[in-house]
């Protein structure tokens, strides 16, 4: 090989190096299409002023699905009991108001996050040693046991009748929650924005990378010295806190809470939403929750007895034809477009 040839090989290699380094260095940067869901959420506020309570419920499910995405989509832990933390958050706020007369909304949210995180940490530390079916059953059992605890002390929890008529104090002591849920919608949207910002940071952090490593190959993670259990407990605790906040907002939005928040249905529903939207994709939670909630609303009005069939069909179509969810479809399409447009 002569000198100029060597030179060419070297510069080709340094170009390849630069390209590779650039890719990693840029991956976490903000991209414009990421504005879209937020613009839609703001547009909904102006265009659908009489559907704001429903809108808030959709945003709450987005938040709940986002918390599940951290553990299911990124770390690859399948759980059937995520409602446990939603329920704990919901009841923290409910009990604060009904039993202690404490109605300040934001500190109640923080309390809900903390209690849910505590329970997430405690149960996670114990059950994340297991995998597969065992883990599935243990997560399921967590939610059932919490629900039964509530049932046992129905004098405190209100049992299956729940805690009705929970009203919260004005936001920041100024903004009264109105009957049409306008203030509440913006409040929920604000909290979601904040939490999304956190989750996005985590997902693109080295810790987030380690989570995908655990999902991709846990044996390799052990072999390279990753403290897998600690990582899982950490993300489980964070996800529990976020689910707790979603539950708290649920109580604040609806002004009541019943033990149904712990139902298996709730855990299953949030998983369906996430799979529908696309796991491990950050915005899958948005797409899935919005599409699911809107269709559920539409189907249930169309056929109050038969609407679940529509949801079932949707799920079948998703797993058969869009196994990576709605977001996967969009990525596939834009990827193809980019290749066509490219050299």
């Amino acid at each position: 090989m002569d000198a100029s040839e060597t030179q060419a090989v070297l510069s080709a290699r340094s170009a390849a190096r630069a390209r590779a380094a650039d890719y990693l260095a840029r991956r976490h940067r903000f991209r414009w299409p990421e504005c879209l869901p937020w613009l839609l959420a703001i547009a909904a506020f102006f265009l659908l002023p009489d559907r704001m309570t429903f809108g808030a419920q959709v945003l709450i499910m987005v938040m709940f699905a986002l918390s599940l995405d951290l553990i299911l989509g990124y770390a690859g832990i399948v759980t059937l009991g995520h409602a446990a933390f939603f329920g704990v958050g919901a009841y923290t706020v409910g009990l604060l108001i009904a039993r202690l007369g404490y109605t300040e909304p934001i500190s109640s949210l923080c309390a809900a996050a903390m209690v849910a995180a505590l329970i997430g940490f405690g149960t996670g530390w114990f059950l994340l040693r297991y995998r597969g079916l065992t883990l599935l059953m243990l997560t399921l059992a967590t939610a059932i046991m919490l629900q039964e605890t509530g049932n046992l002390r129905s004098d405190i929890s209100g049992g299956y009748d729940g805690l009705p008529g929970l009203t919260i104090a004005p936001l920041f002591g100024i903004f009264q929650y109105d009957l049409y849920g306008h203030v509440n919608y913006l409040y929920v949207l604000g909290v979601l924005g904040l939490i999304f910002f956190f989750v996005r940071r985590i997902v693109y952090s080295p810790f987030g990378q380690a989570l995908t490593g655990i999902r991709e190959n846990v044996r390799r993670m052990h072999a390279i010295g990753s403290p897998v259990h600690r990582r899982l407990v950490t993300v489980y605790t964070i996800a529990a806190a976020i689910a707790g906040v979603a539950g708290a907002l649920f109580t604040q939005t609806n002004a009541y809470v019943t033990l149904a928040v712990f139902d298996f249905d709730v855990s299953a529903k949030v998983m369906v939403m996430l799979i529908l939207g696309g796991t491990g994709r950050l915005y899958g939670a948005f797409a899935g929750a919005v599409v699911y909630m809107v269709l559920e609303d539409y189907f249930s009005k169309m056929s109050p007895t038969f609407w679940q069939f529509g949801i079932g069909l949707l799920l079948v179509l998703t797993v058969l034809f869009a196994p990576r969810g709605i977001l996967g479809l969009i990525e596939g399409a834009s990827g193809r477009a980019a290749r066509r447009a490219g050299p």
Binding site: A21, R27, I202, Y204, F207, Q209, T212, G213, H222, I224
Partner: protein
């Protein structure tokens, strides 16, 4: 005498009623080049699993720098400089080659405890990862997903990941297994040029490779150390020929 970097003392392990590791003693000095040979099912991979902590022994001890690490987890041992490659590729298949290496460096340096900084923001990590890829001629594949690579290239990633751990002891479990014979030389060249300070134990069936690479050889038969010695001693050992080498001596016949 110096303390061996890695020492295995009286290691035992059984699967059910089947003893797979029987009273194994083994030592690696700094910079050792030792081959572990033996018929299929002799318990070579199991021994690697016991040393790295992927399996727990029923009795016996593993020492790293003279310190007993038998009670430590696999991850803890890895953090102390004990790395291995797998007989069957065990990689992050859905991630890029570069991410596989960056992940390893991130865990090695404790970077992965960070929940806030962007993973790509530390240029030094990416640069170091690319150095490993450069050394193994994987730079052009840096942005490919591991599962898109041919098996032989994946074998190289397997080695790159182990190197990115900056190990003091490296256990290579049949690094060229599953690679078409036309490409094995690539992998074996890499193995031959590894840092002379790293203590290496290689499991390999190709006797030509073993005799070229190793300065010591341990023969494992039915879970127990049958004999050990220099390549010359092993080649001259009639018993070894009988149980194992029979048809695999360099130039003496086919390899399995």
């Amino acid at each position: 005498m110096t303390v061996p970097v890695l020492e295995v003392k009286g290691l035992n392990r059984a699967f059910g009623a089947l003893p797979v590791t029987r009273n194994v003693d083994l030592a690696l000095e700094k910079g050792a080049r030792r081959a572990l040979i033996g018929p299929n099912g002799a318990g070579k991979t199991t021994l690697v699993n016991l040393i790295t902590g992927a399996l727990k022994p029923s009795s016996g001890r593993v020492l790293l720098d003279g310190e007993d690490i038998t009670a430590l987890s696999q991850a803890e041992r890895a953090r102390r400089g004990l790395a291995r490659t797998f007989q069957i590729n065990t990689l992050f298949r859905g991630l890029t080659v570069l991410e596989n290496i960056c992940m390893t460096i991130g865990e090695r340096d404790g970077e992965c405890n960070n929940l806030w900084r962007a993973a790509g923001a530390k240029r030094s990590v990416i640069d170091e990862a690319l150095d490993y890829l450069d050394a193994l001629r994987l730079t052009d594949d840096a942005l490919k997903l591991v599962r898109e690579l041919p098996y032989g290239r994946q074998r190289l990633v397997e080695i790159a990941v182990a190197l990115a751990q900056r190990p003091r002891v490296l256990l290579l479990d049949e690094p060229a297994a599953g690679v078409p014979s036309s490409e094995t030389h690539l992998i074996l060249d890499v193995v031959a040029s590894l840092d002379p300070d790293i203590a290496i134990l290689i499991i390999e069936h190709d006797m030509e490779v073993v005799f070229r690479f190793a300065r010591q050889i341990t023969v494992l038969v039915a879970g127990a150390v049958f004999t050990e010695g220099t390549p010359e001693e092993i080649m001259a050992n009639a018993d070894v020929r009988a149980v194992y080498l029979g048809e695999a001596i360099p130039g003496g016949g086919r390899h399995d």
